[in-house]
């Protein structure tokens, strides 16, 4: 066991204990500090075990088992209300912000239980970033402040570091060239597509290990959508991306693997090509061929 834990570990003091807990099917890297993004293709980013999520008495997710591979794009598709957004939100504990939310089961991120005792959801969210359906740059902040807000409010003060991170993040989000001359203008002055890429830059600025996207293009026009999709393509060399989408063509274009949810259950999971061309489950077949949903 590695006694030196980096700050990237969820439980700052509790890690040694949780890592030694008898968790089967946990690879030895559970006690290794979060690895550099250059991980092997076959690695699992999220190991979801028997997950159920409830809002009050309503069960939104039913006993889902799913292994989301690292360094690739996984799409979650399904009709409205099938629980795909809830499944995504469970991956960085965002669903806990809704009143009356609770869950059973486990989600292991690189071997560590996201919901383990002593694990602060704030730290989970620092490692697992999220992009929302509606772009939401903070209206009181400039473009630059929007990108850096996650770092600044987590105590980063080093000016040189911040300005480097600002440029890197905006470049990663393919927005740098468009905004580099007016970084001090309000973020809300940008176009819809630019705002969404600003939000992506903002999420990337804290250097999460995984990026969750909840229908990131549903409010964008086709050109802006194409830009964001290109961006997702570029990101997967360094990031694990999980994207919820209503748009099946989009799932087919951007993802390596696809999970089909229906009525809160995971119906089928597999390589995107197989899900769309040769689905094993008749419900999946009906949905991807457009017969319902």
């Amino acid at each position: 066991m590695n006694p030196v834990m980096t700050s990237k570990s969820f439980a700052m003091s509790d890690t040694a204990k949780s890592a030694s807990a008898p968790v089967p099917a946990t690879p030895p890297e559970s006690s290794i500090p979060a690895p550099a993004p250059a991980a092997a293709k076959s690695e699992v980013a999220f190991d979801i075990q028997d997950l159920s999520v409830f809002y009050g008495s309503h069960q939104a997710i039913k006993n889902v088992n799913l292994k989301i591979p690292a360094m690739s794009v996984t799409a979650i598709i399904g009709p409205s209300g099938c629980g795909k957004s809830t499944a995504l939100r469970a991956l960085n504990r965002m669903h806990e912000l809704s009143p009356g939310a609770r869950h059973t089961g486990k989600i292991l991120m690189k071997g560590e239980d996201l919901y383990g005792p002593g694990i602060d959801p704030t730290v989970v969210r620092r490692r697992v970033g999220m992009i929302f359906q509606k772009s939401n740059p903070f209206p009181t902040l400039t473009i630059a402040e929007n990108v850096l807000v996650g770092l600044r409010l987590n105590g980063v003060r080093d000016k040189a570091f911040l300005s480097r991170r600002l440029e890197e993040s905006l470049k990663m989000a393919a927005l740098w060239d468009e905004v580099k001359d007016h970084l001090n203008r309000p973020g809300t002055g940008l176009s819809g597509g630019q705002q969404q890429r600003l939000c992506i830059a903002r999420a990337l600025a804290v250097r999460p290990e995984i990026l969750l996207m909840d229908e990131p293009c549903s409010a964008l026009d086709p050109i802006a959508t194409a830009k964001v999709e290109e961006l997702i393509h570029a990101l997967k060399s360094e990031y694990t991306v999980v994207i919820v989408t209503h748009n099946m063509q989009q799932a087919a274009r951007v993802s390596e693997n696809t999970a089909f949810f229906y009525m809160g259950s995971l119906i089928e999971f597999g390589p995107t090509e197989q899900i769309f061309m040769n689905p094993k489950n008749p419900q999946t077949e009906a949905y991807v061929s457009g017969r319902f949903g």
Binding site: N92, M94, L97, T122, V123, V124, R125, R126, R127, G129, M130, F132, K134, N136, F138, P139, T140, L141, E145, V149, G150, R152, L153, N154, P186, C199, R202, A203, V206
Partner: protein, 281 residues
């Protein structure tokens, strides 16, 4: 081509628009009437002396309300310092942290407090501050006004915070920002103008209150040196002078009212100008 139905619809639409404009004018009309009437009655007594001199003994011509102008500002400052933090933090609790049942009770309480007649707050201030301190004072005046401000500020703060879209809170949460920082740096900043407006409305309201300070600050004809001593205020001065049998003092009451309304207007305009500039994180 207009059918008869279209004509009828246009007529209805025109009528309703006219009604809305008329009602909007009705809302602003009293302000205009009051202001111009005060201007007409008060401007003759308004002079440099009026805003720089102490009151003269009854029957003597001249003198001013300098101490009452400063006193009103001082009382507003005291009320601000005592009342706004409580109202603000209470509003933040209601909007960001509190649970359903507790919130409903606090909200109900605040609404009841908003309906309490201001003279009752004068009595509360009298019992809580004047009696224990052994005399009328600026402090007890400020306290009575703060009591009026708390529920006002609390409710407006809550209302503007609730209007901040939850998407901003979610986005900030997803960046791993701790909750209190989200509340302070994101939510409060976004709602800043609304909160300031709420505080201003509350201040404007208490600036003109007479009954609560009559029982607590008492009023005075000299400068105030300590918050433990009685203090003059425009509403009290206006009240005494309006009842006076000397025409010169009656005229000064008009001028005092004019100064009070201009004071509230200036305060409002200044703060609005300052908050119209963007705030930095």
């Amino acid at each position: 081509m207009l059918t008869r139905y279209d004509k009828y619809r246009k007529l209805k639409s025109g009528f309703m628009s006219a009604l809305a404009v008329f009602c909007a004018i009705l809302v602003v009309l009293p302000l205009i009437l009051v202001f111009f009437y005060l201007l007409k009655m008060g401007v003759s007594s308004l002079s440099w002396d009026f805003i720089t001199q102490l009151p003269k003994p009854a029957g003597e011509e001249g003198g001013g309300m300098a101490n009452a102008i400063v006193g009103t500002l001082e009382l507003m400052g005291l009320a601000l310092v005592m009342g706004v933090p409580i109202g603000l933090l209470g509003g933040i609790y209601l909007a960001e942290y509190g649970g359903g049942k507790t919130n409903a009770w606090i909200r109900f309480g605040a609404d009841v407090l908003n309906g309490v007649p201001s003279i009752v707050w004068g009595m509360v201030g009298y019992i809580l501050a004047v009696v224990p301190m052994g005399g009328f004072s600026a402090f007890s005046g400020g306290l009575a006004l703060a009591f009026i401000m708390v529920p006002l500020v609390l409710r407006t703060t809550e209302e503007v915070l609730v209007l901040v879209p939850s998407g901003y809170r979610e986005a900030a949460s997803a960046l791993g920002i701790p909750r209190w920082k989200i509340t302070y740096h994101i939510v409060l900043r976004t709602a800043f103008k609304g909160i300031v407006t709420g505080v201003l409305l509350a201040l404007g309201r208490v600036a003109g209150e007479t009954a609560p300070i009559l029982f607590t600050a008492l009023g005075s004809n000299v400068w105030n040196n300590s918050i433990k001593e009685p203090i003059a205020a425009l509403p009290i001065q206006i009240y005494y002078y309006a009842l006076s049998s000397f025409p010169d003092q009656n005229n000064q009451a008009w001028a005092g009212a004019l100064v009070l309304i201009i004071l509230v207007f200036l305060l409002s305009a200044t703060v609005r100008f300052l908050t119209s500039r963007r705030s930095k994180i």
